[in-house]
Amino acid sequence: MIEVRALTKAFGAQRAVDELSFTAPAGKVTGFLGPNGAGKTTTFRCLLGLAEPTSGDALIGGRPYGDLVSPRRHVGAVLESMGFHPARTGRDHLRVIARAAGLDAAGIDPLLEVVGLRTAVDRRVGAYSLGMRQRLGIAAAMLGDPQVLVLDEPANGLDPGGVSWIRRLLRLWADEGRTVVVSSHLLAEVAQVVDRVVIINEGMLVAETDIAALTADRVTVRVDRADLMQSALRAEGADFEMLAGGVISIEGRTTADIGGIAARAGVTVTELGQMSAGQTLEAMFLAVTGGDRR
């Protein structure tokens, strides 16, 4: 379990992370979403002890990263800033980590098999493609069989097959009871696999919710007279918002409720449905990133 409490990281006057709080529970894939520059990587660096928070806490299993004994056995991480020595082979990269962490090197070859690098183990990383490096990074994260996995934009540089492989891996980890946090600036990459989302913008929390909670009680409707429909909804005290394309999204009502309101208001319904989690998430994400205005 990961707990971030009122985390702030300032660089001079600039607050890259601003009083951010959220949790990522075990057994779930938590999507950590936000546009580029929202503070996702900085949050991860504070969480992993690579950067000192200005204030607040970022805890793994209740402790700061620096207090973990044998951290590789607890936490695996892939950050975008992580690199590889180009002259080292994939296997040697993992051997170095295993040696420093006191882990058994016998686990290295099976792991390279799991990430699909079996044929490349003895090649120098300098000759690896971006996707192969990403896979090697994931192998390094898995080396200590950790219960917590933190991945920063893991789909970057992967082909569609690789992206789907990552999704299956995330799902598998969470189903095994591990805590999985994955950041992305592209919702589509993770929307299918996340159980929970934390959306941030400009270092601040925008939304934190389980996907299951998003599906419930959210109805979308498209009508011929949106103005009349809005007045009717307002009169009914409904909690609604306008989405792109003249669609109205209403919370806490059933499709039958909305159909009735439309009929009484004398407007014609052209579309009526329960919003899928994906649509709801997309609407939230677009509102944050401003993508719907572009």
Partner: protein, 244 residues
Amino acid sequence: MMNLVSAEWLKLRTTRLLHGMIPATVVLSAAAVAGAVLSLDGAAELESSEGIRRVLSVTGTGALLMLLVGIMISAGEYRFGTAADTFLTTPRRHRVVLAKLIVGAQCGLGAGAITSIACIGIASLLYNIEGATFPFGDADVWLTLAGTVVYSTLFAVLGVGLGSVIRNQTLAVAVALAWFAVVEHILVNLAPDIGRWLPATAGQAIVRTPLDDLLSPLAAVVLLSAYGAAAAVAGLRVVVTRDT
């Protein structure tokens, strides 16, 4: 700590940094020794105390390369982006720096010893060719070679410290080369009283270079150790406190 030292060695072996640097150190020093032998005239001059010191003191030439090895041991982690992985494995970063200092010192010691052996071999061979007898029994010979090992070891430590403070490897190497190849020479020539307190000049004193104004070898060992310790402490401080 043993794991970390062992891991640092594995890092060096798997990048083959030393495969080039140690032979280069040996060749550079041996060539300097050969040059010094050939510059002296006849057996009498070669066998004189001054002559022997001129020949053997250049064995310290390779120490500069060990300084560069030290820089690469520490700054190389930032150059290739492996520092994050290293600190994820060992969040108590001072241990990483200590392991690097130990490994740097071991590299310098090993390279210094290999260089000394190679240099004494080359020197005795060339002495024979020149019709002179190499004075194996002279204490100065062994003190100078011991000095080469100490010089090389302390310079490697200095390099690890410097590379921890200046984590841009290219910049650290450039600063080191500019200082040791240019600035220190100028300072020594302009103000020998100050110059003898500078690190490479202390190194020259350690290998008993026959020059005026140098400290005694022992005082120079103490001084260069102090430089090494200061660089190590500064490196520790920077690595522990700065974000990665």
